[in-house]
Symmetry: C2
Subunit: 109 residues, 2 copies
Amino acid sequence: MKYELSACRVEDALGILVGKWKPIILLHLLNHGTQRFNQLRRSMPGITQKMLTKQLRELETEDIVERVVYAEIPPKVEYSITEYGRSLQPILEAMHEWGVKHTVHKQTK
Amino acid sequence: MKYELSACRVEDALGILVGKWKPIILLHLLNHGTQRFNQLRRSMPGITQKMLTKQLRELETEDIVERVVYAEIPPKVEYSITEYGRSLQPILEAMHEWGVKHTVHKQTK
DNA sequence: CTCTACAGTATCCTTTTAGATACTATATTA
DNA sequence: TAATATAGTATCTAAAAGGATACTGTAGAG
């Protein structure tokens, strides 16, 4: 295998992707493009406002998600995935593919 | 994008891979094949015995890792990755690739 | 007879993550 | 004049993850 000494690199990606809601947020932004705060919230039943804010802030800090605030009332804030964030797509896809097989595995064993 | 309604599948993979030591354990088993308990332990400075045991038990429960006990004294226990566990390799690879780019990104931005 | 290697358990403690709930400000709508 | 939508904060609590430390049993080596 080609990696070996740089095995720890895997954890960088993991560190960004873990969080109960992060992959869901990213998939939403990938699939639906720019979204407002409450738009995201409504598409994730079960998430609290605090959690959504927190996860988005973390993704923003990592430069995965961009946050644009409009000086309007009522407030308008738009979230979108960055080019850099888009680079995570292959990982999400690999996990998705695996997830589908995994379901099958559980059923047939 | 091809997934959409089945977005949650991504979390199945994530659920198996998260844990401070799991990806490291899996990479070791992928790179070095069957390993004894203390062999793994020595290759992961910083992990405690309890943690290694715990992570291995969880991976065993998920059928990602196989545990073989030899009735010898001193004890001998061998761990290896299962065929099913090997199916995670594309994910680990995708994360590794990303991790390398990520490092570059951090440096150049 | 004591020491070491092996593969663990058991117990306690700290940190991190997640969740519940209540609160804020303001323009627009009815 | 009161309710609504928006995008949050603040505070408290519960649960999960991670870590430190001490302990176990037994064959073989010295």
